[in-house]
Structure formats: structure tokens, C-alpha cells
Symmetry: C2
Subunit: 373 residues, 2 copies
Amino acid sequence: MSRLWNFSAGPAALPTEVLEQMQSELPEWQEAGASVMEISHRSKAFTRVIEGAEADLRELLNLPRNYRVLFLQGGATLQFTQAPLNLLQGGSADYLVTGAWSQKAAKEAARLGNVRIVSAREPFIGLPAVRDLRLSSDAAYLHLCTNETIHGVELFEESITALATAVGNVPLVADMSSHLLSRPMALSRFGLLYAGAQKNIGPAGLTLVIIRDDLLGKASAQTPALLDYRMQAKNGSMLNTPPTFAIYAAGLVFQWLKRQGGLAAIAAQNKEKADHLYAAIAASDGFYRNPVLPEYRSRMNIPFTLPTLELEAEFVRASEAAGFIGLKGHKFVGGIRASLYNAVPLAAVQALVAFMRDFALARADSGAIETVG
Amino acid sequence: MSRLWNFSAGPAALPTEVLEQMQSELPEWQEAGASVMEISHRSKAFTRVIEGAEADLRELLNLPRNYRVLFLQGGATLQFTQAPLNLLQGGSADYLVTGAWSQKAAKEAARLGNVRIVSAREPFIGLPAVRDLRLSSDAAYLHLCTNETIHGVELFEESITALATAVGNVPLVADMSSHLLSRPMALSRFGLLYAGAQKNIGPAGLTLVIIRDDLLGKASAQTPALLDYRMQAKNGSMLNTPPTFAIYAAGLVFQWLKRQGGLAAIAAQNKEKADHLYAAIAASDGFYRNPVLPEYRSRMNIPFTLPTLELEAEFVRASEAAGFIGLKGHKFVGGIRASLYNAVPLAAVQALVAFMRDFALARADSGAIETVG
């Protein structure tokens, strides 16, 4: 068996070099006399791992000094609860809904306090003009999902600037699970951001949280110590045993990213990959369609449809037979989805585009495409 | 470098065979064309992993059919919050405090509702007579920690039977983090039990929860979906992306346990290991001391002290130099602690006992022991 082209939305492809390093560090890791997953999280050896990972991450993100980095558990979904527990303070928060994930975040926050939903209209294909959103200037925060993994809607710098300007001093809180580390971003616009690891960071089971200092210490009294950002910051993410292997793996990914030339270099590759796939969709004469408005098309998650459900099912089967992993769309929206995370090489996208062209041509020849009308 | 004798309290030693299997399944796992941590948690291949792990666990534990198994995140510490959110129902719960961990559990539960602390007296060295505990017969549940990892206090079948009898229909809720899977147990006495993985189950970042069917569906309205046992049971622990690599690793550990002959066989080994170490402590003429009452001495975590703090510091240094990992006691209680989890072989304990004898003899010869008086 060899490694196949992997377009999984998450858990997603990791760099082969990283996996090979993990392999070479089993069953013994460096000079530890044990694997990295068998030593105390408070040991000197593991302290070097977590501190090194944080330093590399800060360098990659060019993170200002007044932000804290936390390595937590529970996925972005636990952040849907943790963020309001820590930041609502009995007030009201605005939730910008641009797809399935920001919608889920709003639903969980509504259990805990006053939530005002500011929604893009369905189907989710982008953002209305910011002036039409009627954002509150006195909200505890504005929550948004800057890349909707299911709907393939990404907010780029211009949208973020417009939103930040519209809300003034209201902190932006963002779920960045599926595009953090995919390109340089001006993170100083955000009060809190979080990301499940299983896209561009590492294995599932680790959640990265980045929070501005002044937002620590505002948790409600019922907040469990484990879910209090201040307590976690004070304890170096070790209020209890953190997911040590996943943190080690994330550290290897950060080192790999630095070897690639950092986020500017990886962003150029990601843009080339996405452009190549969107161009193939555009060149298919409507056989493949992506519904998202051009300026909101995600470079990470590219959903597309085929003329019929039957053709989509056939595409999934044929792609698996041809050695592609993870192209079936999310059950919420159906269709096909290709996730082009950092570890997916251009060669994978080129192979996919060639496969898509052949698939469409064969169906056009056989007359299947005529069923669209 | 070779693998050293590892007595870490957690993250703890894993079976070398398991680590070698992980190594052989990187960077490609079986026929997947990717590693196990790069594929969808909803894929057929991963479904086989999680279902296989559950089936093996059920067989090992001889788990009755009316219990559900959940693979969650957040450690036992998140269960300190999740259990009361799901089970308090506006009522009151009894918390039996026998050491540091049950104390922490009580503290977290008290944020969420009415908690009655039923405490063993400090220092924590065992359980008072159950008739003296004044347990409530109308509590929502009785929470206990059946093996206190820091204090080395374990509750065996007789204590559990006495507690279960005393509370009648009140469900027992237990933190079993550091001894689940170390010996056969009558789990049908419990309504809910949970364990952080990083002792006898797998890498840190996975929490095993086992709950009786009739206790599902009682969560309070503010309970986040992610922390609602019923929702997790309904979604096969996949309300969001679970820690897939840790679940895979736990599955390998369960297979290894079956190859060892299951829990009866591993329990015999664990008893032999613990007996050997306790005998060495008893034979040291008071140089090493374990404070726990004999019938509550843990077979998993064995804390002991030396005559002076200086000797303890010297013991830690010398043991590390001699190639032992993880013998420094927890900061709460100081001293030394040897954790003898399933993956720690008898040979490791024999090596430790020989080291302890030599260390004590050398200090007695040099007169250091006379400082005790």
C-alpha cells in the first residue's frame, strides 16, 4: 500500500514527513527511554515540547505578545460553550451565521445567555454587505466562523476589516478551525479565536485557543475551572493532563510549516491549488458547479455538485476506485467536497482535476449529461 | 537509547508491542492509503476501529448489555462537571472524599448544584466504617473515586459492596481513571463510571465513559449537546470529531489485554507486582513507609516516604540516573510514587525493589538513616 491523494475534510491529511518522524520516534522518543506519549506532561522533556510548539506557532502566526496560546480538548464544539461561559458576562452577543458551523455555535451559546443572530440568507454563499447586517455596537462580542468547512465560504481580509470596523470595540470571536495557518492573517483584529486541530494543525483531540490578555478573568461563577480560560492560561494548559501526543504532533507540523517557508509560502501554494480546482470547475461547462460567490470561495474546502444525485454517487465511487480519499460531500449539503489543506500537495489537486475532466468527458460522451436539461 | 523502566503516574507506560504496532502502521495504516489519524471518523475503516475497540472493551469488562460506552475528551476532570450536569436534576448528590481526586470532583460539582461532602478524615489512608459515613438514601447519586492516584487509596470489592448496600437505589458514580482494567470488577453496581485514558487505556486525550441506559436523558436544559450523555450515546460518541488516534491506540491496548489472558490474568500479575513492592517497603525497617491502611493499599499507585526530604530528593535523582522514569511523588503529598499499571512488567518492579534495597543499605551504612531518630 502507498499513500493515496487525501482530500478528507478532517481528520485530514498530515505531511508525510511528519508521519515519518512520528514513526522514527516510536517506540522510543529521543533520549527519553519511552515514547513521547508515556511521559509526564509536567516532565522537563515534555515541557520543551509544548513550549517549542507554542514558540513556533507564535512565529508562524506573527502573534502579538498580548495573546495567550492554549492547548485544549473538546474540539471547536466545546468552544461553542466555553466562549460564551467566559465572555457573555450576563450581556448579549451577536452571532454572524454564514453556514452550518456558525449556526451550531449560535445554538449552543443560546443555551447560556442572550444571543442575537445576524444571519446571511440561505443558501449560504457569502456575506451580505456589512452595513446591511445591523451589528450591535454594545455586544459582549461578535462571533463568526471565518471559514465554513461544509459550505465552503471563507472570509478574507477585506471582510474581516469591514466587520471589525463596523463593531468598533466589540471583540471578534472566531472559529478558524479549517483555515488557521493556511495563510497570514491579521489576528490582532480578534479577541479570541479557536481551531480544532484535525485540519491544518495535527491529529483530532487537540483544540488550539488564542485569547487576548484583557479577555481573561471574565468567566461566570458556574464556569468549571477546566473551561475557564484564565485558569488554563495560568496553568499553562495543564489544569489537567493535556493531549500530549497530539501536542507533540502539532509541534512537528509547525516545524514542517517553517521548513516550507512559513505562512506566506504555504498561502501561495494554497492559492495555486484552489485556483486550479476552481478553474477546472469553471471550465466544465456547468457539469461541476460551486454555488459560492467568487469573493467568498474558500481556498480550503471546495464543495461542488454534479448534474444529478446519481452522477454524484457515481463520482464518489469512481474517485474511491481511482485512489482518492474523502471526496464525498457533507451530509448537510450533499455533493462533492475537496479539502485542500496545507498537507495536500499540488500534485494531488492536479490528479483530481485530471480525474474530474475524464469523468465529465466520459459522461458527456455517454449522454448522461443530457439528463440535466 | 532503549526503553527504560517507567513508573509514571500518567501519561504512563504503554505496552511495547502496542507502540511497535503503531510504528508499523505509520505512515500508512492497513489498506487505507493514509495513516489512521488522517481519515474521516465517519469512514467505514474508522467505524471498524471504534466498534472493534468497544466490543473488545465490553468483553474484557464483562459489561452488561444495558450499559453504553462513550469515547469522549476532556479527561476525568471534565467528567467532574459533566456528571452533575447530567445527573443532579436539581437534587443533591453525596460526594465521598477519600483523596485529592474525589475532593476535586466535589469542588467542581458544587458549582452546579447541591453537593454533600461525606469525607474520610485526613490524612487520606482509607475508608471509615461505612455505617459511620451517614450516606443519604435520597441523593441523586453517590460519587466516589475508587482509586486515588495521588494518595494510593484503592476501594476493593468489599468496600464497594458495603457502599452500594448502604445507599440502596442511589446510583454509584465513580472516577476509575487509575485502575479500570487492572482487575475484574462488578461494574453492574455502578450507574456511571469514567476514566481518563492515560493510565491503563491509551494516550492522554481520551476519556472512557460507561453509563447505565436508565441514566441517559436526564441532563439539565443548559447542558451543551456535547456534554449530554444521551446525545453522545445517540451519536456513537461522534457529536463532533472524536480523538481518533487515541481511540485506535486504546483499541490496540484492549487487543493486547486480551492476548495477556484478560483481566483475571492481568490482575494476578498486578497483585504480584504490588505485593512485591509493598513487601520491600515492609522489609525496609521503616526506611520506606506507606501510610495507607493495609486493606486500602492501591495495587496501581504506591506512594512512599523516606526518612527525610533530602533523602527523597536524593532517591529521585539516583533513580533517574539509574534509568527509572516517573518516581517523583505528586506535589500535593511529596515523597516517592511508583505506578504499577498493566504495561509495567514484573521485571521493572524487581529492578525497582533491588534499587530501593541498595539505596537504603548505602544510606544506612553511611549513617544517613540515623538522622531519623
